[in-house]
């Protein structure tokens, strides 16, 4: 703070002294103009990082992948059996669906090796000979509370298997089984899209080149998906116990 008075004083004093160089008074210490960017940058970094974590890193962490015990080819078998899909996946007399066939179904043909495939050898050595049931991983296994009637949907509703299960009948290899580490349910139930925005299978109308439906994984199998179709078809939602037990 140099006042005129001080200057005069200084001049007065300074006639004997050297001239004190006049410094430019430093600007008062204002807060850095761009300082506010630090938390914003931190916010941004955190934001982006966690977006990345949530969308990219989280799904593989949450889901564990397993291969089916035997790499089964539907294509080969479809040609080999007499009655098509019904040879192994059939309705029993009481109307229940046989689901994934048991060991004795496979053993009917594979008691002795039919070819030279490595997987067949595995089947015979590890399962047929010791009489051990093959522990297939079921992609569409629903919780205990669900009652699903294949007869109602396939026989009465005339739905195609692929509508809910995907074009598995044309597959040559088994696809990996991914399941949620926390809930132990198959990823097929919640849908492969981590945001649970998978489409319903029947929403896919595009066909791929081979004539099958263009769908990599079958869509969700949650209650909302069933309920949506039920409501459309029947006009009102059914009683709870139609699907629950």
């Amino acid at each position: 703070m140099s006042t005129t008075e001080e200057k005069e004083q200084t001049v007065a004093q300074g006639e004997q002294e050297e001239e004190v160089p006049v410094e430019a008074t430093p600007e008062p210490e204002k807060p850095g103009t761009w300082r506010f960017l630090i938390p914003i940058a931190a916010f941004g970094v955190g934001f982006l990082m966690h977006l990345f974590v949530g969308w990219v890193i989280f799904p593989p962490l949450l889901y564990s992948e397993k291969q089916q015990p035997i790499d089964f080819s539907h294509k080969i078998h479809e040609e080999a059996v007499d009655e098509g899909c019904e040879s192994c996946h059939f309705f029993r007399e009481d109307g229940s669906f046989s689901g994934i066939p048991g060991l004795e179904n496979c053993a009917e043909c594979h008691e002795e090796p039919m070819g030279e495939h490595r997987e067949e050898a595995k089947l015979i050595k590890e399962y047929i000979e010791p009489g051990k049931e093959i522990p297939w991983y079921v992609y569409s296994r629903q919780p205990q509370c669900v009652f699903f009637s294949h007869a109602a949907h396939v026989k009465m509703g005339e739905l195609e298997c692929a509508t809910c299960h995907g074009p598995i009948g044309d597959s040559d290899h088994t696809r990996p089984y991914q399941y949620n580490r926390l809930t132990k349910y198959s990823r097929d139930i919640y849908g492969w899209n981590i945001a649970m925005l998978s489409k319903n299978a029947w929403d896919y109308t595009e066909m791929d080149d081979s004539g099958g439906m263009k769908i990599e994984h079958p869509a969700r199998m949650k209650m909302d998906d069933c309920a949506e179709c039920h409501e459309e078809m029947r006009g009102v939602k059914d009683a709870c116990f139609v699907c629950h037990k």
């Binding site: 970094v45 982006l48 949530g54």
Partner: protein
């Protein structure tokens, strides 16, 4: 820019907020929340269903298999529902002649017995003191060798007659194998556990000269006079009788029947009867004879039958000219309504009314066998009731009582016995049956403890038990326990760890009834012969073996004539060969019925010395029995006193037999225990039913703790005020008080058998205990 505190805070706060916002826009939060709820609901709670994959019941193919239930002598057909190879439900078999689709609570709960922790998992050898429950697993070879060694040893020392076997039944191939074994081995001691059949068979033998079981044509009777039988509580073949009861109660007047129940307590049967006559306990025979008095006096009896086909109704004289009193004179002089009313507590008017109603009914039927029919009872009482049937002429008639044989099967070749066997078999039985004192009785199942306790040491040196739990079911438990201590070697073939198995030295577990083949003889009380087939519905769940196979292996290893007596390879061969040409139908249908069976007509029916139905039993003299007085040859009221003096023990205790409570060789499964009323069991305490007037005398109120004491034992109980029981009489449920099995059953209540003793019927030697004197004191 240096990382000072402010920067640090700015960075970290900014970063966290960014992280938070970022995460919120990802599925992580929502997905984790959703997944965590599922995790906390399904995986974290301890279902204890074994592993993650096996945590819930798996669906699978549903199949049905038919078999027969063996949890009681009722022999109901069952249909077992299986999911893959697991049994998930037992249901009654529709169309089966005995039960036509119905089932009792014990039958349904049978599936808990198949998989439950009571199952003996493999042969066991006692590893601690008897009754400590410490067992060690051994192999089948070891177990069989031990038995062979012990039995062989006894035989060599000429002690083969000290081996005894207690079985639940003496009919069917398996009990026959036991009988054959003992015969070839050299022992007469095949003992069948007590039931009303003991007495009724004897009565039929004496009065009709028949060697057969009793059959009741319940469905077509229209007046049922029941002397204490628990018709809807498990008497006879339980489901069959309940179905008959529904016919009696049907709206269709043609089928309707009047049901009269005579018992001191308002049981379910009494509650549903048209009339309940609360008689003084133990005086049922007096009432029967009082009714006979009216029927005879007013000439309401069937004269065609009585005059032409009975002996001893009128007085008769023998060749020397000595006259003997007939039944008619006996009832007319000794059983006048006044006297009977005094004894029984039923008014004269009611006695007269009842007698007239019974005799005038179109198809009257008197039934006998207290409760579920699992106790022997007084012979004279049984004969008195049977005499009523004779008076109304329903013997071998529609809606009446008849003799019923078993379905004929192939006889086995005779056993060729060696010297030891012959000597041993001719020794007197340890229970005294068939001896000069009781020449006509075949089994005396309540006397074996006395024989051991009162006899020399070594009376029984080895005991084999099959389909029975004598440690629990024999009355006078203290004597039973003492007797068991006196038997050095006890072998149980039980599937479950019941009381007898608990106190055994070796357990060689039989297959569960759903795991084995066996023939099932005609159930108790059926009027037509039927043979059922028990077939395996599941493969054996544990390391068990069929008792038939085990017994034959033991016999073969004993060698000599014992081995020769069993020319069959295995039990299945025995079964198939014995069934003969019936095997085909048996295997296909699951049963063979002699649907056209008709009991013989009167002129051919009686194999007595007189050739007629005998009111006056001539067989006693023929058998060389000492009968005290003239009246001893006729059905009469022979009071069976309850033990204890009335001054110390002013009350009378009777057992209450309930259909929801198994009280025989099978322990009550958890489902059935769950079905018990809150006035029967609370926590671990049993209730005693007391009439409120009686309770007031002793200062007892509902739910109050009391000490129940009898001359045989005492127990702490809770009081339940019940107007359905006579003043002065109290009742406790029968079937609890187990010490074996597990926490689901053991330690609950008190064993009624431990509070009661054995009162012998003087003429047959069978246990005629119907109750005991008791006292109740506040605690």
């Amino acid at each position: 820019m240096k990382l000072d505190r402010r920067t640090f805070i700015e960075l970290s706060v900014g970063f966290s907020l960014g992280a938070g916002a970022g995460i919120m826009l990802t599925p992580v939060n929502w997905k984790l929340m959703d997944d965590m709820t599922i995790w906390s609901q399904e995986l974290w709670p301890r279902y204890q269903l074994g592993g993650l994959e096996g945590r819930l019941p798996q669906t699978g193919e549903v199949t049905h298999a038919d078999s027969v239930c063996t949890l009681c002598p009722g022999g109901c057909g069952i249909t077992v529902r299986k999911v893959k190879d697991r049994v998930t439900k037992i249901e009654g078999r529709e169309g089966y002649p005995v039960n036509d689709g119905g089932i009792c609570p014990l039958g349904v709960a049978g599936l808990q017995l198949l998989y439950g922790p009571w199952r003996v998992p493999s042969p066991l050898r006692r590893a601690g003191k008897r009754g400590s429950g410490k067992f060690e697993r051994i192999t089948w070879d070891e177990a069989i060798n031990k038995v062979v060694q012990k039995l062989g040893d006894l035989r060599q020392r000429g002690q083969s007659h000290t081996v005894a076997s207690i079985l639940g039944s003496d009919r069917g191939t398996v009990p026959q194998l036991f009988g054959r074994f003992l015969s070839a081995y050299g022992s007469p001691n095949l003992i069948r556990t007590a039931s009303a059949e003991d007495t009724y068979e004897l009565a039929l033998g004496l009065m009709q000269g028949a060697t057969a079981s009793v059959g009741y044509d319940l469905e077509r009777a229209n007046f049922i006079l029941s002397f204490g039988s628990g018709l809807i509580e498990g008497w006879g073949s339980p489901v069959r009788v309940i179905k008959a009861h529904s016919i009696w109660r049907s709206g269709n007047s043609k089928d309707r029947a009047t049901v009269v129940q005579i018992e001191p307590r308002l049981s379910n049967t009494a509650a549903k009867a048209d009339n309940w006559y609360p008689v003084n306990p133990g005086t049922e025979a007096a009432l029967a004879l009082g009714l006979a008095h009216i029927i005879v006096k007013e000439s309401l009896y069937d004269s065609a039958f009585v005059q032409n086909h009975t002996f001893g109704f009128e007085d008769w004289s023998d060749a020397t000219g000595k006259t003997y009193m007939g039944f008619k004179r006996l009832v007319l002089t000794e059983y006048k309504p006044g006297a009977v009313s005094m004894t029984t507590g039923i008014s004269v008017t009611k006695i007269v009314q009842l007698a007239r109603a019974f005799a005038k009914a179109k198809r009257p039927l008197a039934v006998w066998g207290r409760g579920k029919g699992t106790t022997s009872g007084s012979l004279y009482e049984c004969m008195a009731v049977h005499a009523l049937n004779a008076l109304v002429g329903n013997i071998n008639q529609l809606g009446g009582v008849s003799t019923r044989p078993q379905v004929a099967t192939r006889a086995w070749p005779a056993v060729s016995r060696d010297g030891t066997a012959r000597k041993g078999s001719h020794r007197p039985r340890i229970d005294g049956a068939g001896t000069s004192r009781y020449p006509l009785t075949r089994y005396l199942p309540d006397r074996w403890p006395q024989a051991i306790n009162g006899g020399r040491p070594g009376t029984i040196q080895a005991l084999l038990v099959h389909e029975a739990d004598p440690y629990f079911t024999t009355t006078d438990s203290a004597a039973v326990a003492k007797a068991f201590d006196g038997i050095p070697f006890v072998v149980s073939f039980s599937t479950y760890l019941d009381e007898t198995a608990y106190h055994a030295d070796l357990i060689l577990p039989n297959h569960h009834y759903l795991e084995r083949w066996e023939d099932i003889p005609t159930p108790v009380g059926l009027q037509k012969p039927i043979l059922g087939l028990l077939r395996p519905v599941v493969s054996p769940q544990f390391d068990t073996r069929h008792v038939g196979d085990v017994l034959m292996t033991i016999a073969k290893e004993l060698g000599g004539t014992v081995a020769d007596a069993f020319p069959w390879e295995d039990y299945e061969t025995v079964l198939k060969e014995t069934m003969g040409d019936k095997w085909g139908t048996l295997e296909e249908e699951g049963y063979v019925e002699d649907a056209g069976y008709k009991p013989p007509a009167w002129r051919k029916a009686f194999g007595t010395p007189s050739g007629k139905f005998e009111f006056y039993i001539t067989a006693f003299d023929q058998a060389g029995m000492k009968v005290d007085k003239d009246v001893g040859y006729l059905p009469h009221y022979e009071p069976v006193e309850a033990e204890g003096d009335s001054s110390t023990y002013p009350l009378t205790l009777i057992p209450a037999e309930l259909i929801r409570l198994a009280d025989g060789a099978i322990g009550n499964p958890p489902f059935c225990t769950k079905a018990l009323e809150e006035t029967e069991l609370k926590g671990n305490d049993l209730f005693v039913e007391v009439n409120p007037k009686t309770a007031a005398n002793y200062g007892l109120s509902e739910g109050r703790c009391a000490m129940l004491e009898t001359p045989r034992g005492k127990a702490k109980v809770l009081v339940h005020l019940f107007e359905g029981i006579m003043p002065g009489v109290i009742a406790i449920p029968k079937g609890l008080g187990h010490a074996a099995y597990d926490d689901y059953l053991a330690g609950k209540g008190v064993n009624a058998n431990s509070l009661m003793g054995v009162v012998e019927d003087p003429i047959s030697g069978l246990s005629a205990t119907w109750g005991i004197r008791a006292k109740l004191t506040r605690v």
